[in-house]
């Protein structure tokens, strides 16, 4: 009898061992805490945060964080159960989902951030070019207070944009770049408005007519004539209708406008005559050829402007406009006169008689400082 019981016991033990051996992998899967999955999920969420997913992929990060919390809660819930009742399957599934969501958040954040950086960089480049173009244009065409304000804000916004780009905020950098671009365009538009008369076809036709008539008169009389081109900063001497010499010249500081009153620092435009010649002893500016500004046409225009209220009642037309020396500086610095270098003045002075006609035009439509600046801006598509 004894051996039967012995056999039965051994069989039962063997059966138990076999059952455990067969069931262990399944049971182990259920009751072993998911240590590795937990670490991987936590690392993945940390990586997503470090990649800036909080800013660049917030919804994805929130989902991953929420699932991480749920999975940790589920894991802990199982941990406190009796060992054979534990089942970490749900925790594992949630951790796996967390990891894939966090990885997706990392990828999306990197992509979005990269895109934002590229866009900010591109906006910054465009804004830099626009500001540089506006700066160039402002050197050629002096801006008024409004234009200066736009340009100053453009510069400032550009510096702020660079600061934010360097400090990891490409979105703000892009916003400020766009502001800089807009302000630079406004400055250029303002400059274009101020210098519009230099590309105005009707105005150019009038100036051309003046030049043609002046040259024709020189040809007819065989005498000298002077044409001053403000846009080109050139004084051209004609003898018997032929251009014999051109001189670089500086103009009035108010370089864009025609003279309308005393003290406006503008060089007058019109058809004048030399009424006085001053040698070194009688001119502060080496030598001088005084024009008959204001002539009858200037006075008519002046009175009309005063009557219409464009000029104040106490305004005066001004005078003492000369072609004189001490110039050739490459900047417009006079109070309205035309300034040549002393050497050029020495060359011009003896060839001119009292009564020699002097025609001062804004331009002739064939280029110059102001018209070229406008043309450049048009080509760069910055004029609205």
């Amino acid at each position: 009898m004894g051996w039967k019981w012995g056999f039965f016991t051994a069989a039962m033990v063997a059966l138990s061992v076999a059952t455990w051996a067969a069931g262990y992998p399944w049971l182990s899967e259920r009751i072993t805490p998911p240590h590795e999955s937990t670490s991987l999920a936590i690392e993945a969420v940390g990586a997503a945060r470090s990649a800036g997913a909080g800013t660049w992929a917030p919804a994805l990060l929130r989902e991953a964080e929420s699932n991480l919390r749920l999975s940790l809660a589920e894991r802990r819930r199982q941990e406190v159960r009796v060992i054979l009742l534990r089942n970490y399957a749900d925790a594992r599934a949630l951790l796996s989902l967390t990891q894939s969501q966090a990885d997706e958040a990392t990828r999306t954040a990197r992509l979005q951030r990269g895109l934002a950086e590229v866009e900010a960089s591109s906006s910054l480049s465009s804004a830099s070019l626009a500001v540089a173009s506006a700066e160039r244009m402002s050197r050629a065409i002096p801006l008024d207070a409004d234009g200066r304000r736009h340009l100053a804000r453009a510069r400032s916004a550009l510096i702020e944009a660079r600061y934010h780009r360097d400090n990891g905020d490409p979105r703000r950098a892009e916003e400020l770049s766009e502001e800089a671009l807009q302000q630079a365009q406004d400055a250029v538009t303002r400059a274009n408005t101020l210098a519009a008369r230099y590309v105005d076809e009707e105005q150019i036709r009038t100036w051309r007519r003046w030049i043609v008539e002046t040259v024709a008169a020189s040809k007819k009389t065989g005498g000298a004539a002077i044409v001053v081109n403000k846009d080109k900063h050139l004084v051209t001497l004609y003898l018997a209708g032929r251009a014999v010499r051109s001189y670089r010249a500086d103009m009035g500081r108010n370089k864009l406008n025609d003279k309308s009153r005393a003290g406006d620092l503008a060089t007058p435009e019109g058809r004048y005559k030399i009424i006085s010649k001053k040698g070194p002893n009688s001119s502060r500016y080496h030598r001088a050829l005084q024009l008959d500004y204001p002539n009858a046409a200037d006075l008519r225009r002046f009175e009309s402007a005063r009557r219409s209220g464009e000029l104040k009642n106490n305004a005066r037309p001004g005078g003492l406009i000369e072609i004189h020396g001490e110039g050739g500086r490459g900047i417009d610095w006079t109070d309205g006169c035309v300034a040549l270098s002393n050497k050029d003045m020495d060359d011009l002075y003896p060839r001119i008689q009292l009564g020699t006609p002097v025609t001062i035009v804004g331009g002739d439509g064939s280029g110059g400082v102001f018209s070229r600046a406008i043309q450049d801006a048009v080509e760069e598509n910055r004029i609205k």
Partner: protein
């Protein structure tokens, strides 16, 4: 017999007392996390804030786990430890944020002071800048630039007052650059004048 009668209710009372979640500690941890968020930890100490949020999540998980157990075997000892850890992490996040914020504040304050000092200096230089025929300094234009810098400094001060220190830094930096350009232009004009005289 009398002693036995007393021990049983006492043991039950102890078990029941120990089975309550550590609500005060949990509330303290939550309050500390709210303080960290108010201290702009999300902007100035994001990693510390994330660690504090994770610690609070672990605390929540522990409490949920214990609540899921049979009431007589619940144990909130671990929850208490986690609550303390969560509170500590939240306090650290608040501290880190305050430190980082203070650093940016001090930097922006320094830049603002520098911008104001440079503005005063440039205004004084502009007041005695060479004028009249022959100067390269376009006084009106430079004044406009200084006015623009003044506006930018005001904007920076407003941002500073509103606690937007990074914005204040950016604006102060821009103002300093603008003023530097004006000072350079005045200096060029002065040198030109000296060369001519």
């Amino acid at each position: 017999m009398k002693t036995k009668q007393m021990i049983i209710p006492l043991a039950l009372a102890l078990v029941t007392a120990c089975a309550k979640p550590p609500q005060a500690e949990v509330d303290a941890a939550r309050a500390a996390l709210d303080s960290a968020r108010t201290a702009e930890a999300a902007e100035y100490a994001p990693e510390s804030l994330a660690a504090a949020e994770d610690a609070l999540a672990a605390l929540d998980a522990e409490i949920q786990a214990q609540q899921g157990r049979f009431f007589l075997i619940r144990s909130y000892g671990e929850a208490q430890t986690k609550a303390a850890a969560a509170r500590e992490a939240a306090e650290k996040a608040a501290g880190d944020a305050a430190t980082a914020r203070e650093q940016v504040r001090v930097e922006s304050e320094g830049l603002l002071a520098q911008a104001s000092a440079q503005l005063t200096e440039a205004s004084s230089l502009l007041a005695v800048a060479p004028t009249g025929k022959g100067t390269a300094a376009d006084i009106a234009a430079l004044k406009a630039d200084l006015q623009a810098a003044t506006s930018t400094i005001k904007e920076a001060e407003q941002a500073y007052s509103a606690g937007q220190y990074k914005e204040a830094q950016a604006k102060a930096t821009a103002a300093i650059a603008t003023i530097g350009t004006v000072k350079q232009a005045i200096e060029s004009a002065r040198q030109m004048r000296e060369r001519r005289s």
